[in-house]
């Protein structure tokens, strides 16, 4: 509305009489729009519209007139698609699988990242920048390529790791039915530990040193300073990395898809996203949309739930 008003006054008054917005100072509404639009136009088209479209699709269903061989048409189907999602055992087993994955992998990864960040923040280590870079390097590797690299290390024919373990009398099967989920978890851990470590490390670096001077004078050990002072201060960063990890876990696709190429123990519906893709490939778009919406809702509930839980416990 202000935009329109600004444009009309511009036509009437000469350019000198710049129309200012009510809250004073700053450029004309048209100029502001010109700054915002290059982002907002694609943002609306490729972010908001697809979200709305998925919701709309998920409430539609394919119906047929005149029995099995009649012509099909799509129309409003209410919660039909959602009911199908909730009755789909493959959906629940993919959620269960990914839940187990997340409950184990996320804490392990973040714990390792935290230990590394704390160690890098003490005077105990040498070669700090080398360690920091080494851990961060996997972040440059896309999930598909990381999974290809690791799949060679898992493969019984090619892997030097399997050879090594055979040498000491072990016979690991990284691609077996029980192990393959953890082999995928290892790829995620390898990829993201350094990134999470760097987030926590950056937060540690921004703590003023004086904060622990007093504790040091009182004879507190590095250990005590780390757990009693540093960790509570960087808690928001730890929460943030947890939320990102929860989101990432629920979206898992590339790594298991690559492992599926060499292991028969990964089904085409191994993760929720693989299921959504498989359903969409079968042209059942309405059902695929409903699955995507349910995954998104679960993601939101878990990440917001986690944030609420942690902020309550911190007494905020």
């Amino acid at each position: 509305m202000t935009d329109l008003a600004a444009r009309t006054t511009r036509v009437v008054t000469p350019p000198k009489g710049r129309r200012r917005l009510p809250d004073g100072g700053g450029p004309r509404a048209g100029t502001i729009t010109a700054f915002l639009l290059p982002f907002f136009l694609p943002f609306v088209l490729f972010y908001l519209v697809p979200v709305g479209y998925a919701l709309w699709q998920s409430f539609r269903a394919v119906h047929r007139t005149g029995g099995q061989y009649g012509t099909s048409y799509t129309s409003f189907g209410g919660f039909e698609q959602y009911q199908k999602v909730f009755e789909n055992t493959e959906f629940w087993s993919s959620i269960g699988r990914i839940g187990l994955f997340g409950v184990v992998q996320v804490p392990v990864m973040l714990f390792v990242a935290l230990i590394m960040a704390l160690l890098l923040d003490t005077p105990l280590l040498k070669l700090k920048s080398v360690f920091r870079m080494t851990a961060f390097m996997p972040y440059a590797v896309p999930g598909v390529i990381a999974a290809i690299m690791w799949s060679y290390l898992y493969s019984p024919q090619l892997s030097p790791v399997v050879d090594l373990l055979n040498g000491i009398g072990l016979d690991p099967d990284f691609l077996g039915p029980g192990a393959v989920l953890w082999s995928a978890a290892n790829i995620s851990t390898w990829l993201w530990t350094g990134y999470n470590m760097l987030i926590m490390y950056s937060a540690l670096q921004s703590i003023p040193q004086e904060l622990y001077e007093a504790a040091k004078l009182d004879g507190a050990s590095n250990w005590a300073i780390a757990w009693r002072i540093k960790v509570p201060i960087i808690a928001p960063s730890i929460v943030l990395t947890t939320v990102f990890s929860i989101i990432g876990t629920l979206q898992l696709y590339a790594e298991p898809a690559v492992l599926r190429q060499i292991s028969s123990n990964i089904s085409s519906t191994f993760t929720p996203n693989m299921l959504a893709y498989a359903v969409a490939s079968g042209n059942n778009y309405q059902q695929a949309a409903a699955i995507s919406v349910v995954i998104a809702v679960i993601t939101f509930v878990l990440s917001f739930g986690f944030m609420r839980l942690t902020s309550k416990r911190a007494g905020l």
Binding site: T2, L21, P22, T31, I32, F35, L36, P38, F39, F40, P42, F43, F46, Y47, V49, P50, V51, Y53, A54, M116, L119, T122, L124, L125, K126, V130, F131, T134, Y139, A140, V141, P142, V144, I145, S151, Y152, L153, L158, S159, P160, T193, I199, M200, Y201, S202, A203, N222, S237, L240, Y253, A254, A257, Q261, Y277, A280, A288, A289, S292, I295, T299
Partner: protein, 285 residues
């Protein structure tokens, strides 16, 4: 006495800390080292020689095979990757910078509302958008074109979020005011004054968006059927799936993986200071 105790404690913990970090460093380097070794071997040596030791040095031959296979399709994938990830991130950074700058420096009605919509967008995982985008794009006929991957890739709500923080921190309001008094238009001020002040921040935004596009496998996977449009990741994924029928492809998958990650790793190491500013800003919220 307490000094001696502290010294003993710290020598013990020093050793333990170094040992742990070395172990982790080996873990992070192992797959990359394996890839380097494997990429130098002839196909026949992959299964028959120790995976961690070099054998016949065959890297140049492997590279030749990689780049000539199927009429040089790998080179095409590399060019496509540059278009999607480098060009996409550059365009994305520019539009994020304009928007974030406006949200930081201009006062207007609805500003906070727009910003919270963008923050909500940060939490929407890009994989969740791929399937509905595919349906929309098939209706408009741009599925299976460069645009189908490029256009969604330029949108980065996280980039706008960072740009707003950085613009607030790096561009003093007085500077904008004085440029205005000098009669400079807002765009001129942005490109000649603010842009320069925000450059380090923009490099950070560019890097984040580059990684996001480079990592986004699901979108091209859903959108593209034509091999000639694939980014490297999708191409290698397809080759990797064919190695059971065509075992000779294995060596090209390995060499191709190495060729594609080495330049990115080098750039990352050279630009590492930009990561830390971005990650620190990202964890402020």
């Amino acid at each position: 006495m307490s000094n001696a105790r502290v010294n003993r404690e710290s020598r013990g913990s020093r050793t333990a800390a170094m040992a742990l970090m070395l172990l982790l460093a080996i873990y992070f380097l192992l797959p990359i080292y394996f890839l380097i070794v494997a990429a130098t071997k002839p196909q026949g040596d992959l299964a028959t020689t120790n995976g961690l030791a070099f054998s016949h040095f065959n890297l140049f031959d492997n590279l030749r095979v990689l780049f000539t296979r199927s009429d040089g399709i790998f080179g095409r994938w590399a060019v496509n990757t540059v278009i999607y990830a480098v060009l996409g991130a550059a365009v994305g950074t520019l539009i994020s910078a304009l928007c974030g700058y406006a949200l930081a420096k201009f006062r207007f009605r609805g500003r906070e509302f727009l910003f919270s919509v963008i923050l909500g967008g940060v939490l929407v995982p890009t994989t969740a958008l791929a399937l509905p985008l595919f349906l929309l794009f098939s209706a408009t006929g741009i599925v299976n074109t460069y645009l189908a991957v490029f256009l969604p890739s330029i949108v980065s709500p996280f980039g706008v979020y960072l740009a707003r923080i950085f613009a607030n921190a790096a561009v003093p309001q007085e500077l904008i005011e004085s440029a205005r008094l000098d009669g400079a238009g807002e765009f001129r001020t942005f490109f000649s004054v603010s842009f320069r002040l925000m450059t380090p921040a923009l490099v950070t935004i560019f890097l984040f968006q580059f990684v996001a596009i480079w990592n986004n496998f699901f979108l091209p996977m859903v959108m593209l059927q034509k091999e000639s449009l694939f980014p490297i990741t999708l191409g290698l994924y397809q080759w990797n799936g064919q190695t059971a029928r065509a075992p000779l492809l294995q060596q090209s998958v390995i060499t191709g993986s190495l060729v594609s990650i080495v330049p990115v790793i080098i750039v990352f190491i050279l630009l590492q200071r930009f990561w830390r500013t971005g990650l620190a800003a990202g964890s402020l919220k």
